[in-house]
C-alpha cells in the first residue's frame, strides 16, 4: 500500500516508523477515523445521557430544594423507581410498551411469514406485482394506519361526531376498539408485517429445493416437509425478524400517542416525550436508558437463543434451485385473499385519508360536503381551521416539505457514502480487531430506540462541546441524528456490496500507481454503485417519514412534514394532518422512483 514516509523518518526508531506507516495506510487511517466518528456520534451521547440521570439540573428546583447544580445525586433514580409516581412514570408504561410491541410483532409475523411463503415458494399468480404492493406499508409512516383508524373508528370520546363506522352503522364504537392497546397493536402490526415479510422472504428464497425434494423422495407429505425441513431452515430468520421488529416498535412514538392518549394509555416512548416537554429532563433520560437496556437485552437474548444457529449453509455452488409449490385449486382463492388484504391494509387507509382531507365539515361523509378547501383555499374564513390557508398555499407546509426533502436527501447521501467507507474499511481489514470493532460499533445505533436517540442528542448537543458549537435547534442536528441512526443498515449494505469487489482489481490499480482516492473513486465507487443506491433508498425512505427520531429535536424553523402532521393533529386540524400524509406519501414514492431511475442510468453508463 502506498504509505507516506515523513521526511524526518530516517531519524525515527524503526518501531515508530512501522507504526507511522501502519496508521497512514489508507484502510487503517480510515478505520480509525470512522471509529472515532462512531464513538462520537453514539458512544459519547449514551454516556452523557447516563451522566445526566445522576446529576442535578436547574429544572429540578420544582421537585427538590437545596441542591448544587451539576452535583452527583441518586434522587432521580429513586424518584422514578421507588417514588409515589413510579407506577405511572415507569412500571405501567413499561408494561404497556412490552404488551404493544410484542403484540404488534406477533401480528407482523402471523401476517408476514405466510405472505412470504406464498410469494416466494408457491405458484401464486402475479407474485412480483403483489410483492411490490405488499411492501408499500414499509414506505409509509408507521402511524398512517393509526390516523386512518381514527377516521373510521373514532367515537364521541374524542368529541365531535364519530368516525365512518359510527356514521354508517349508527353504533358508537366502544372505547377498547377505538383507542388503547388493541388498535395500537393492529396499527403497528399492519406496518411492521412488511418488515417481517422482507426479512423472511429473503431467507425463504435461498432455501434450496433439493432439501425439500429429498424429503419428498423419502415419503414425507407436504405438511411434514414444511414442518421438518423448510421451517427449521428459516427459523433463525423468523426469530431475527421477531427481535428486530420488536426492538423497533419499542421506540415508536406516533401510533401510541395518537391512539393511546385519548384513554390515557401511555408507553415508555410517549411518557418520555411528556417528561421532556414538561422539563423533567432527568426522568426523561432515565426512561431513555430503560428503553436502551430493554432493546439491548432483547437482542442479547435473541443471540443467546439462536446463537450459532443463526444461519445454515443452504447455498451450495450454483445448484440453488427454487421449486415452487403448486397451489392447485387454492391458487385463485388465495390470490383473492392476498389482493383483499392489500386492498384493506394498503389502499383503503390511503383513500380514507384522501377522502377525509376533502371533507369541508368534519365527519360529514355526504358527497355534498366534498371540497378542495383544505388544499387550495386562500384562507381567511375563521370557520375552517382558524382561517389558515390551504395546504398547497401554506408557506408552513411548503417550508416543511422543503426541509423534509433536504433532510432525507442529505442524510441518505451522507449515510450512503459512510456506508461505502465503512464497508471498505471493514471488508479490507477482515479478521483484524479494528475491523471487528468497527463493525460492532456501527451496529450500536440499532440498540437505541428512536425516541431515546432523540433524547440522547438533546442532552449531547444542547451545549457547546469542545470545538463543536451547540447544535440545538439547527438543521445540522437533525441530519446528524438521522445519519447516526441509519448507519447500521447502510454499513450492512456497504459490507455486502464491498464483498463483491474482487481484491485483484484494486491490486492491479496499485501496481499501476493509482493513489487511494483515485482507486476509491474510479474502481470502488462505480462497482458498488448499486449497493450505494440501495443504501441511499433505504435511508431516504426511513428519514422522510420519521417522527419518533426527530420529534424531540425539531423546532419551528426546522419543521419537517411528519412533525407538522403531529402539530396539526394536536390542534385538531385533521384535514390538514391527513392531507400532509398524502403529500408525504407522494414525495416518498416520487423520490424512490427518481432514485431508482438515476441509479439505473448511472449503472448502465
Amino acid at each position: 500500500m502506498a504509505a507516506l514516509n515523513p521526511p524526518w523518518s530516517s531519524a525515527l526508531h524503526p518501531h515508530m516508523r512501522r507504526l507511522w506507516r501502519a496508521i497512514t495506510t489508507p484502510r487503517i487511517l480510515l478505520s480509525l477515523v470512522l471509529c472515532a466518528l462512531l464513538i462520537y456520534l453514539v458512544g459519547v451521547p449514551l454516556l452523557r445521557i447516563a451522566w445526566a440521570t445522576i446529576t442535578w439540573h436547574p429544572e429540578d428546583a420544582r421537585v427538590a430544594r437545596g441542591f448544587e447544580e451539576g452535583a452527583f445525586t441518586l434522587f432521580h433514580w429513586k424518584r422514578t423507581f421507588l417514588g409515589t409516581v413510579s407506577n405511572e412514570l415507569v412500571y405501567r408504561p413499561f408494561l404497556n410498551t412490552v404488551v404493544t410491541s410484542a403484540g404488534a410483532t406477533l401480528m407482523a409475523l402471523l401476517i408476514g411469514c405466510p405472505l412470504a411463503w406464498l410469494l416466494t415458494r408457491t405458484d401464486l399468480p402475479g407474485r412480483r406485482l403483489l410483492g411490490g404492493l405488499i411492501t408499500i406499508p414499509f414506505i409509509l409512516p408507521s402511524w398512517t394506519i393509526a390516523l386512518a383508524w381514527l377516521v373510521v373508528f373514532r367515537n364521541s370520546r374524542l368529541g365531535g361526531a364519530g368516525g365512518l363506522f359510527e356514521y354508517m352503522t349508527g353504533v358508537a364504537t366502544p372505547n377498547w376498539l377505538a383507542y388503547g392497546p388493541v388498535p395500537i397493536i393492529i396499527a403497528m402490526g399492519l406496518h411492521y408485517y412488511a418488515f417481517t415479510f422482507i426479512l423472511v422472504s429473503g431467507a425463504l428464497a435461498s432455501v434450496d429445493s433439493h432439501l425439500e425434494e429429498s424429503g419428498e423422495i423419502l415419503g414425507a407429505n407436504r405438511w411434514k416437509i414444511l414442518k421438518k425441513i423448510t421451517l427449521p431452515l428459516v427459523l433463525p430468520a423468523i426469530l431475527s425478524a421477531f427481535i428486530l421488529t420488536f426492538s423497533r416498535s419499542l421506540g415508536t412514538f406516533g401510533t401510541p400517542i395518537f391512539l393511546g392518549r385519548p384513554v390515557g394509555y401511555y408507553t415508555l416512548a410517549t411518557t418520555l416525550y411528556n417528561n421532556l416537554r414538561m422539563g423533567f429532563k432527568a426522568s426523561a433520560y432515565i426512561l431513555a436508558v430503560v428503553l436502551v437496556v430493554l432493546s439491548a437485552l432483547t437482542i442479547y437474548g435473541n443471540q443467546r437463543l439462536i446463537g450459532t444457529r443463526k444461519s445454515f449453509v443452504t447455498i451450495s455452488g450454483r445448484g440453488l434451485r427454487v421449486r415452487l409449490t403448486p397451489l392447485r385449486g387454492w391458487r385463485y382463492p388465495l390470490l383473492i385473499l392476498v389482493l383483499a388484504f392489500v386492498l384493506v391494509c394498503v389502499l383503503v387507509p390511503l383513500l380514507l385519508l384522501v377522502w377525509q382531507s376533502l371533507m369541508l365539515e368534519e365527519n360529514n361523509y355526504s358527497l355534498g360536503n366534498l371540497s378542495l378547501h383544505y388544499w387550495i383555499s386562500e384562507g381567511g374564513n375563521r370557520r375552517y381551521a382558524e382561517g389558515e390557508a390551504g395546504l398547497l398555499r401554506s408557506w408552513l407546509v411548503l417550508g416543511a416539505a422543503k426541509n423534509s426533502i433536504a433532510l432525507s436527501v442529505i442524510t441518505a447521501g451522507l449515510v450512503g457514502l459512510l456506508g461505502l467507507l465503512l464497508g471498505y474499511a471493514i471488508v479490507k481489514g477482515r479478521g483484524t480487531r479494528l475491523s471487528r470493532a468497527l463493525e460492532q460499533i456501527s451496529f450500536l445505533p440499532y440498540l437505541v430506540p428512536s425516541i431515546a436517540f432523540g433524547a440522547v442528542y438533546i442532552a449531547m448537543f444542547a451545549s457547546p462541546l469542545g470545538p463543536i458549537p451547540a447544535l440545538y435547534g439547527t438543521f445540522a442536528l437533525l441530519v446528524l441524528v438521522c445519519v447516526a441512526k441509519n448507519l447500521p443498515f447502510s454499513s450492512r449494505t456497504g459490507v455486502s456490496s464491498m464483498l463483491q469487489v474482487g481484491q485483484e482489481l484494486e491490486e492491479a490499480a496499485v501496481m499501476s500507481g493509482a493513489s487511494w482516492t483515485a482507486r476509491f473513486r474510479r474502481i470502488i465507487v462505480p462497482l458498488t454503485l448499486s449497493g450505494f443506491v440501495a443504501g441511499f433508498l433505504l435511508t431516504f425512505i426511513s428519514t422522510i417519514r420519521d417522527l419518533s427520531l426527530i420529534i424531540l429535536l425539531v423546532t419551528p424553523s426546522t419543521r419537517v412534514l411528519p412533525s407538522l402532521i403531529f402539530r396539526y393533529n394536536e390542534q385538531g386540524f385533521t384535514q390538514f394532518a391527513n392531507g400532509i400524509v398524502i403529500i408525504l406519501v407522494a414525495l416518498s414514492l416520487a423520490g424512490q422512483w427518481l432514485i431508482r431511475r438515476i441509479g439505473k442510468k448511472e449503472a448502465t453508463q
Binding site: G43, P58, G159, R261, Y265, R382, F443, G466, G473
Partner: protein, 402 residues
Amino acid sequence: MIRQVSSLTCALTIGVLAVALAGTTPSLGAPAMSEAQQKWLLEAKLGPHSPATHDWAAIEAAARKEGKVVVYSSSSRIPAAAKSFEAAYPGIKVEAFDMGTVEVISKVKEEVRARVRTGDVFFAGDPPTVIFEMVPRRMLWNFVPSELVGLIPKELREPLLVQRLGTRVVIYNSEVYKTPPITSWWDLTKPQWKGKVQIKDIFESGENLSMMATFVKHADHFASSYKDAFGKEIVLDKDCPNAAFQWIRNFLKNDPVFAGSDGDATRAVGTRGQKDPPLATVDYAKYRDVMAGRFVFEPALDIKPVGAVFYQTYLGIIDQAPHPNAAKLMIRWLMGDSRGGKGYEPFFVPGDYPVRTGMLEFPRGAVPMAVLKNKAWTIDPMYAYEHGAKILDFWVANQRRR
C-alpha cells in the same frame, strides 16, 4: 446483524471514556452575569441601563438597522400581529413562530443554555416557570414601554410585563344545553360526567397545572362547595391533604379525556349536531370560534367555587437577543393602544383581558372584566411554583392509566 453485540461493550469502552469525560460537565445557567451579558445590556439599554423614558425615534432607527425580529409565541394568533407590524414598519422583517407554551419555554431555555442567539421576543404564559426559573436566571429581560408604566398596575409589569390575562373556564355545548348543565366543579366528579370531560393533561400543559395549584391554594372553598353539591361535609381520604386534592383524585377517578390541545377539546364540545356532548376546560379566548360560527358553546361562569381562573401571558426580551431594538418595537406593538390598536387586535377577543387601564372599548361577546373579576381567581406564580411538583406527582399517581 445480531452477532455483533457480544463484545460490543468492550469495543465501546475503548475510546469512549476519554472522549466523554472531556465534555461531561454540564454547563448550567450561571447566576453570575457574564461579560458578554453585561455588554449586551449596556448596548441594548436594558436591565440596569434602562432609561426612564424611551426615545422611540432612536429605537426605531436602531431597529431598522437590525432589520429583523424573531418572536417565539404560544399563540396561533401571532402571524396576524406580525403581518400588521411589517406593514407599519416596512424594512423590519418578522419571523413569528407559533409553538405552544411548553415549546416556547423549553426552546428559550435550551437556546440560552446553548448560547444559540436566535430569538428576540418571548411571548407565552406558564407564570411559575417564567417568574421563578427564567427571570431569576436572567434568561429573560423586562421591557415596559415608558408611556405604559402609569397605565399598568405594578404586579402586571414587574418582574415581567404581562400582555393580557387569559382565562381558563369550563365550556358546554349550547345547542344541546340551553343553560349550564353543571353548577359546581364537583359535578365533574359525578357519574353522569364519567368519561365526558375533556382536559389537556397537566403533564402537557403548564396552564392547567397552575390552575390546579390555584385550586389547592383555595382548598377551603372546595371544601364548602362540596357541601353545596352533595349536601354533606367532605370526608378526606387519608393521603389527601385538603379538599382540592380530594377533588383532583375524584376528578381523575371519573375518567377525564386527555385532549391533544385546547383546540381539540373545544371541537369536542362545540361541534354541532351532537346528542351527548362532553364538557371541557379550555381557554375562554376560544370563544372566538363561536363568534366565527365554527362551534356552539358557552362558558359556565357561575359554577362553584370559581367560575374562571386568570393566568398571565408575558412579553419579555430574550437574553442577548440579536435584535433588541426591534424587539422593543414589537413589544410596544403587541401591547396595543387605548382603543386596542393594530398589534393588539388579534388578542382583542372575548375571553382575553387587556391589562392596561383606560381602554376605551372591550371586545364584544365576553363577560366584562368588572363582572368576571368577582367570579375568578388569578394564578399565584409563587404558590404554583412551590406546590406544582407535589400536585403534578399527586396527579400522576392518581391517574388510572391503562
